[in-house]
Structure formats: C-alpha cells, structure tokens
Amino acid sequence: MIWSRLTSAATLLPWSLPADASAHGPALDHHLLLNLWIALALLALAHLILLTGLLARRHSAPNHLWRIEYLPLAALALLFSTLTVKAERLWAATRYTGASPTALQVEVTGVQFAWYFRYPGPDATFGLTHPNLVAPGEGNPLGIDPNDPHSADDHVSSQLVLPANREVDLRLNAQDVIHGFSIPEMRLKQNAVPGQTIHLHFTPTTPGTYAILCTQLCGLGHYRMNATLRILPPDQFANWLATQQKAAK
C-alpha cells in the first residue's frame, strides 16, 4: 500500500523516468525506484544521526563498541546482498540467455553519426558484408555483398520499426568507433563495438514513437546520432515490412 503510493508519487515528479514501453521495463523500474527510496532513506537517516549527534551534547563516548561498529554493518551487508540478488535475477533474465529462435532478427550498425537497421528479408538470413564494399554514396552504407544470394532480399532502414509484443533479437555492431545503442523508453543500453557482434533481445509492448540515442562518445556528431524507433501493432508492421521488401526489389 505504502509502497505503491510512494511509487506513484515518484512517477508524478516533474522530471521522472520517461515512459516505459518494454516487457522487461516495469520490473527494472520497480527495482530502480526501490533502490532510490532506500538510498533516500539511508541518506536521511545518516544525516539525522549526524545532526542529532552534533546538537545533543555530552562528552563521554565510546571509541570501540561492537554493537555500533558491527551491527549496522551487518544490516547493510544484508540489505546490499538482497538488492544484489534481486538485481542479478533481473539481469540474468534479460542477458544470461539469448532470444528465442522465433524472435524477429534485426541488425543494428552504428556509424559516425547514424544508426542503420537491416532486416534479413523472407529468407531470414543476412547477406554477407565486407568493409571494402561500403559505399554510402552509392546506397550501400553497410557494404552488403551483392554476390551473396542471401543479400538480395535484405533491406536497410534509417528507422527501427518493430511489431508490438514480439521478441526482437538485435545484433549490434559498429563500423568505425564504439557507439552506445540506447533506447531510454525501452530501458535498453548496449555498446556497439567494432569487431564484435553483440546480441540484445527485448520485447516492445506499447505502440508509439521513441528515441534512439548514442550514449558512447563517438566524435563531434555524437549529440546528433539519433534515430527513431516506431513500434507498430503487428498487422501494421506486416504491411510496413511488405512495403519495404517490395521497395527493396
């Protein structure tokens, strides 16, 4: 009761967390707010003890007393252990295992200073890419190999468009420097590192338009390395995908 009131009070703050539109988000938010309230309570408690101790005067004092020295530490150890275990369970749920085989596959590539999103097309397989084929001016910013049969139906978008309520498996990479792929409203952040492919999976829930940011300093255009995420209801997404594939042909 008290907890839900505190939580709702927190969301009414003028600069509160942005909207939460992913399946794993509410649990993350709940844990974050729990942590913030605990920190606030400990902050108030410590300052209260400090001020009370300073204002109430007497001169005899212990310089070593086990129950002052160790009991609060034991309590804090218990508290932090509980938070760690809870946080680890949430982390494990989203990161210890990969996406289900039926998840929608999208490749995300960070390039100074844009995000590209590649969909594998009906063959569900990404075509090969080669860095020496990269030619943004000729419409091939990712260096897709035209000789690879899998690449024929791939299509590249500047927007990330996803269906609601279906798991997505993003494969992140970067062409040049480290970028930070972040969608605050999906409670998602992961660096895209050149030379590595990193998988990230999540399920968007609420249709709408959201911001994609770069959160790892990547050069002078870092602040404008934005893109847009559009979450569509499944039928609209199917239409969008069909239109894109037609255009790709």
């Binding site: 300052h47 004092a61 070593h64 992961q190 300093l217 847009t228």
Partner: protein, 613 residues
C-alpha cells in the same frame, strides 16, 4: 617494528649558499617547497578546470552564446571542453593536491621525519608533473584541435587520426601529457611509500600512524599499481596510432573511409587496461581526504577516532577492493554478462568498508562537544557529500540498473558528489587546517585564515554543491546522456522536435537551474581567494598548535618553515595513537602523540572507553 634512523643529515638548500638563490628556491629539493609548488599547480589547474566546466554548463542551456575571441562553441569545442576539464581535474587537481601537495607538506612531519626519502626524485616528479600540465594545455592549441575523446580516450576514436577533429596532434600531446604524469606520479608514490616505510620516528608504530598517513600510504600503493598499467596502455595506443600495430583496432575497421586491416585487436582491451587504472584513481583521489576527515572530526570533537583499528583495516580494504572492480564501468561495453555479475558483486562489496568509515565518523561526532572551526565544517561537509554521493554507488553497481543509467547525468552526479565535491571539501579542510604550517616562516609564526569568511565560504559552497549535483540525478533519470553538446536533437520534418529532441529538451528547465547554481558555486570560491589574499598580508598569527592537535606536524620543532639545523633538533618520539583528549567541567586537555607522560593516558582511556549512558 619501529625504524630508528629518521634523521637525514641536512636541511635542504634553503640554508646553503648558492649563486642564484631564486633558482635554488624554485628548483628546491625541500619537500615543503615542493609541496607548495604542487598546491600552486593544482590551484592553477582547478581554476582552469572550473572555468571550462562553466563554459560547458552555459553552452548546454544557451547553445548560441558566443564566446569572446572565439565565437560560438562548436560541437568539437564542447567535447574538447569535456576532455580537458575531466583530464585536468582528475589528474592535476584530485591526484596532485591531496597526494603530492599535502603529502609533501605534511606527511614527513606527521611521521616524525625531517625530509622525504628521495628529495631529488621528489623535485623531478614535480617538474615532470608541471611539464605534463604544460603539454596538456599546449594540446589545446595543436593544429587539428584539442583531443575530444573524453578523459577515457576510448579507441578506435582515439587511435585513428582520421576519426575526426581532435584526433591528430592534439591527441598525441594528450597521450604524452598523461604518460609524463603517470611516470611522475609513480616516482612520487615510490617516494611516499619509502618515506612511510623507512623514515618514521621512534615509537611511530603502524597502529599509531595517523589515519591521514594510512590514506597517503594506500593511495601511493594504488598509484604505483594503477599508473604503471595506464602507462603501458598509453604506449600501446601510441603504437596503434603511429607504429602500425593494432592492439585496440579490430580487423576491417572502417573509419571515415580509411580501412584498417593490419591486425586483429579489440577496443575492449583498452577499456580493461584503462579502467584498471581509472577506478583505483577514484580512490587515489579520495583516500587522503577520508583519512584527514577522520582526524579532523576527532580533533574538533575532542574525541578519539571511533574504532581506530577498523579504520586502518577499511582503508586497506578499500584499496584492495578498489583494484578489483574496474569492470563495473563495462557492464554495457560488450563484456560477457557473467563477468558483469562478478564485477557487480565486487563493487557492492566495497560499499561495506566505505559504510564502516561513515559509521566511525558518525560515532566520533556523536554527542561530542564539537568546536565548529572552518576545517571541522569542511570535514562535516565531506561526510555529508560522501554519504550523498556514495549511496548512489550501489545503484550503479547493479548491471540491470546500469543498463538504464550508464553514461547519463545520474552517473555524472554520483561521481561529482564524491570525487569533485567531497574531494574538494577534503582539500579545503586541509588548507584551512594546515594554513598556519604553510605560512610560517623563520621570522614569524603561521597565519590563520579568517573564520567568519571561512564559515561563509563553507555554507555557500555546501549549498552550491547540492544545488548543482542533486538535480543532475533527476536529469539523468529522465534519460539525459553525457557528452551531448546540444539537447534538442535533429529536428523532424516541419521543424518539430524529433523523438530524441522531445526526450532530451524535457530536461532543459532543470538544466537552466543547474547552470545558475554552478555559476553561484564557482562565484562562492572567490570568498576563498579573498580570504587567502587577505590572510597572507594581514591575517592573525597562530599559536604553535592553534587547533589543540595531537599529531606530530604540530610539534614545536616540526614547524615546517622554521629552519633549524637538524643537529639542534630534539629527537622526537611517539608514545601513543593520535587524538587523546580529556574534559573537565571547564577545559579540554589533550595529550599529543609526542608527550612522554603515561599516568594521564590511563585516565583518559578509562574515560573514553566507557559506554554511553
């Protein structure tokens, strides 16, 4: 075990005949002069660093504001401001002032030694640090612009000159500056460690060492371990830039049309090496302040430090854990998620020795009879800011929460409260407390900084610190990332805000408030400079031990600026731990570490060991 030979034979150059006394004084090997030189270097650095931070704050809320003689601040200018601000504050203020500055000025006296172990090396360390600072400042004028990779200098951005402005000569000079600093800092730390190990006076056992010395000791250990790794990393990065190696460059990396296929390195290797240095660096900056705070709270509360032995153990534990948790900077960097879990646990673990320190501070002041002199106020401010900044540490130590908060202003608020604010409060406490020792000369005793001005300075700084950094937590929670030169994003068609612009510009009103608060905070520091200038010319003279301190630097013959030949100096020996005080109804008496009385000590221990009623 107590070493017996603590008396290096001669006083440094001050007394020697020299054909160029000014030069001899400037290039002195006297640790006290070197300490002051370090403090002046840190003061110049902190002024530059603060002005740069104000420019960043102003640009964030008024992006079109043109800078005099420069014009509008461009995105690469903003990132150069970020980089130089971070570098200068981290290295040349927070590492230099507490460790090398006050370490040189006070440490030898506090352990009953007359000099540092290696005076020549000491002077060389300082001049190397000065050259490092000049190199850093020179890098801002380099063709191609100042480095813009942030103080963390992640490759490939920093490794490939073609990756944009600031990655050419500016980056090379930045690397050279940090390499020089790393060498200087390692040499200085070797000096500190050797001094503590070998030059303690008779009776100064490990358990009787003031906690400040334990802070310097642990920070020096960390410096030697961490800076050597940083130096190696910098050399590798330099080779990647100029020798055709690819320690940090993956095969097929394509930067701005230039393809790199020479090897098969990984940028993550840099992150590991850098943060193996970077996180201990935080503790190098804050440990001396923690030690000093413990001593000041006891001194001005007229108490012994609560749980003295535990405080020594926690200092060492913080040092040990400090080098085991670098990976918490890399939760979303591309590490295996299981590694993130391991680093999460080691990071949560360090909260416990830190909490033990806070408990000791609270217990030391608890229902004491404190005297609120300015050093005490700054020590209390340190405690408050350390608690406030520290409590968000465990939040960021949880990978699932870091997934949202990483590289947002929440993190900026967290480390600025601890390192920048608590760190600076530690430095102010040290300055106000030791000012009589800094200003004493052979012709007059030291001067005390003005108390009323000091109080005003403290309150304005405390309010300013909280007004700047508490709201930053909220802008971070709202999703505002660091290192953004502007907060409006790319406009959508029809010049409306894009989703990113809408999300980011949401924080602008609060950001305006933060900028006003930052200007107030910086302006409040003028009170300190007024106090400093005024006191240097006409401040009140202090007695030989104005704070009724019990540590050796206040011993009458230890007054650093009284040049007395070593042969005339009475042998100093230590008889107890610091901070022995005793009350009667009318007065407070204290037993300094050097006083050879024993009967009073028993009485005091009886009085202070009793439980509170």
């Amino acid at each position: 075990m107590t070493p017996h030979s603590n008396i290096p034979p001669s006083q440094p150059q001050a007394n020697k005949l020299s054909p160029t006394p000014v030069l001899a004084r400037v290039f002195s090997t006297d640790h006290r002069i070197i300490g002051i030189q370090y403090l002046i270097l840190a003061l110049v650095s902190v002024i530059i660093g603060t002005l740069l931070s104000l420019l960043m704050r102003i640009h964030l809320v008024w992006p079109d504001w043109p800078l005099a003689l420069h014009g509008p601040i461009l995105p690469e200018d903003y990132l150069a401001l970020v980089t130089i601000h971070g570098t200068i504050m981290l290295f040349f203020v927070l590492t230099t002032a507490p460790q090398a500055g006050f370490g040189n000025l006070i440490l030898p006296a506090q352990i009953g030694a007359r000099t540092m172990a290696f005076p020549g090396l000491n002077a060389a360390s300082f001049w190397l640090t000065a050259i490092a600072l000049i190199t850093l400042l020179a890098s801002t004028f380099a063709p191609g612009g100042a480095a813009i990779s942030g103080w963390t200098a992640y490759p490939p951005l920093s490794a490939v000159p073609s990756s944009g402005p600031g990655q050419a000569l500016g980056m090379d000079l930045w690397l050279a500056s940090i390499a020089l600093f790393a060498i200087a800092s390692t040499a200085s730390s070797i000096n500190t460690l050797t001094t503590i190990l070998r030059n303690r006076c008779p009776g100064m056992t490990w358990e009787r060492l003031p906690l400040t010395v334990w802070g310097w000791f642990t920070a020096a250990l960390l410096s030697i371990i961490a800076f050597s790794v940083l130096l190696a990393a910098i050399l590798l990065l330099f080779c990647d830039r100029h020798a055709g190696t690819s320690f940090f460059l993956p095969n097929g990396d394509l930067v701005n049309g230039v393809l790199h296929q020479s090897g098969n390195g990984s940028p993550l290797l840099w992150l590991h090496l850098f943060w193996f240095f970077g996180h201990p660096e935080v503790y190098i900056a804050i440990l001396p302040g923690m030690g000093l705070t413990s001593m000041l709270l006891a001194n001005f509360s007229h108490r012994r430090v609560f749980a003295y032995r535990t405080m020594i153990v926690t200092t060492l534990l913080i040092g040990l854990l400090g080098i085991l948790l670098w990976g918490h900077h890399m939760f979303v960097a591309g590490l295996n998620p299981f590694a993130s879990s391991a680093f999460s646990i080691s990071t949560m673990a360090i909260a416990l020795p830190a909490a033990a320190k806070v408990l000791s501070w609270l217990a030391t002041t608890w229902r004491s009879r404190p005297s609120y002199k300015t050093p005490m106020l700054f020590a209390l401010g340190f405690v408050s800011l350390f608690i406030t900044g520290g409590l968000t540490g465990p939040i960021l130590a949880q990978p699932i929460l870091d997934e949202y908060l990483h590289n947002t202003f929440f993190v900026v608020a967290h480390f600025h409260l601890i390192m920048a604010m608590a760190g600076i409060f530690g430095l102010y406490a040290a300055t106000y407390y030791w000012f009589p020792l800094i200003t004493a000369t052979s012709s007059h005793p030291g001067r005390l900084l003005s108390e009323p001005l000091g109080h005003l300075h403290f309150w304005c700084t405390l309010i300013g610190a909280y007004a700047v950094f508490l709201p930053m937590h909220l802008t971070g929670l709202a999703g505002e990332p660091r290192h953004y030169a502007q907060l409006t994003g790319i406009p959508s068609p029809g010049s409306s805000l894009s989703p990113a612009g809408a999300l980011l510009s949401h924080t602008l009103p609060l950001n305006r408030f933060i900028t006003y608060a930052a200007i107030f905070l910086a302006a409040a520091q003028l009170l300190f400079f007024i106090n400093l200038t005024r006191t240097l010319y006409k401040g009140a003279f202090a007695s030989s031990n104005p704070w009724r301190a019990t540590t050796l630097e206040w011993h009458p013959t230890m007054n650093p600026f009284t040049p007395s030949p070593a042969s005339d100096t009475a042998e100093i020996s230590v008889h107890r731990t610091p901070c022995h005080y005793q009350f009667t109804s009318t007065e407070i008496s204290f037993l300094p570490q050097w006083a050879p009385v024993s009967f009073a000590q028993d009485k005091i221990e009886k009085a202070t060991d009793s439980k509170p009623e």
